[in-house]
């Protein structure tokens, strides 16, 4: 049986919810302080949250609930007497999974609870990763150069994207060719020279960014952000770049 934490100080709402949601284990918190205690001590599958509570706004609790990116979050349905679009949008943007306006039809509430529980704990995924003027779209698996706000697709192959993402996620780490081979291709056979070829191609495609892949003899490849390398969309129409001497920045 799933456990639902109801956070609402209104006694009539509590009566309604207890009557409608008999098939769930219900825990009732009258305020945010109580809710936090229950949240830490009980295993909660879903939260029904009112916005106006005696010790603060429900959105404050919602923000505390939103964990680190990619960590599962307990689903939240806001139940509020506020029916204006601003409250709904703010609630959903703050991390709520659904928003129900009071008065609600029991069947509507039940259906929405089933729907949210079926989806399971949500994850706050990171959609973009920025490094210098490089923008990695982690959903579409695309790398783009930000030139004065204009995003130019670098047309990376899936393997090149994977290599670049790995570099970005472990800034400062020096990867030997063997290490890269194992990380990216795993058990698929590929020669070390082929790894070099992929890196070489990737370097060329990164020319519109201030990201460079460099290598140290006998140590490996590593990523640097070259802050002296500035680009604008005007570079799109030139064949070669006349750049000031690069200053290498440690990327730890």
């Amino acid at each position: 049986m799933e456990t639902i934490l109801i956070i609402d100080d209104n006694i009539e709402t509590q009566i309604l919810l207890k009557t409608i949601l008999k098939s769930y284990k219900l825990i009732v918190a009258y305020n945010l302080k109580e809710a936090e205690t229950y949240f830490q001590t009980e295993k909660i599958d879903l939260i029904l949250l009112d916005l106006y509570l005696p010790d603060g706004n429900g959105l404050m609790f919602l923000k505390k609930l939103c964990p680190e990116p990619n960590v599962p979050k307990v689903p939240v349905i806001i139940i509020s007497s506020s029916d204006d679009i601003t409250s709904k949008v703010t609630g959903l943007k703050s991390g709520a999974d659904d928003f129900i306006t009071k008065p609600f039809a029991p069947e509507d509430l039940q259906a929405r609870i089933i729907s949210v529980l079926r989806r399971g704990p949500a994850r706050h995924t990171i959609e973009f990763l920025n490094l210098g003027n490089l923008v990695l779209d982690l959903i579409e698996h695309q790398a783009k150069a930000d030139l004065d706000g204009k995003l130019i697709d670098l047309n990376l192959t899936p393997i090149e994207f994977k290599i670049l993402l790995n570099f970005c996620n472990h800034l400062g780490h020096e990867y030997s060719r063997e290490e890269l081979k194992q990380l990216i291709w795993k058990d698929t056979y590929i020669s070390l020279r082929n790894v070099d070829t992929h890196i070489c191609n990737l370097r060329k495609k990164l020319e519109l960014t201030n990201i460079d892949i460099q290598n140290k003899r006998s140590r490996g490849y590593f990523l640097i952000v070259n802050t002296y390398k500035k680009f604008s969309s005007a570079h799109l129409f030139t064949d070669s770049f006349d750049l000031p001497k690069a200053k290498q920045i440690s990327c730890y």
Binding site: N10, I11, E12, T13, I15, L16, T19, I20, Y52, S80, S81, S82, K102, P103, F104, P106
Partner: protein, 95 residues
């Protein structure tokens, strides 16, 4: 217990509790109107707006909605007039 519209069977036993709570609330509201405590009045009417229909009293919910708006606008004349409507409505259903 008589309601304005039919309600869920499981809610029926709680209707008298709902009406009793409103009767007690009347005194609080009168004091808050006298004090022109709009924020507290707003909270009361906001809650009432949300639950009245589920207990079988949609008109009460509508009056509460208008009262909430009157309190947001700090329109005491309108609030007093609407509060009078609210009391008349509740008298019809009091046991």
């Amino acid at each position: 217990m008589r309601t304005e519209i039919p309600i869920q069977k499981e809610i029926e036993p709680f209707v008298s509790f709902f009406l009793d709570s409103r009767a007690k609330e009347i005194l609080t509201i009168e004091q808050l109107i006298a004090d022109k405590n709009y924020s507290e009045l707003e909270k009361i009417f906001h809650n009432l707006k949300g639950v009245s229909k589920s207990f079988g009293f949609p008109t009460l919910g509508n009056i509460a909605l208008e009262l909430e708006r009157a309190c947001v606008e700090k329109n005491i004349t309108l609030a007093i007039s609407l509060f009078s409507d609210l009391k008349s409505y509740l008298r019809k259903y009091s046991h």
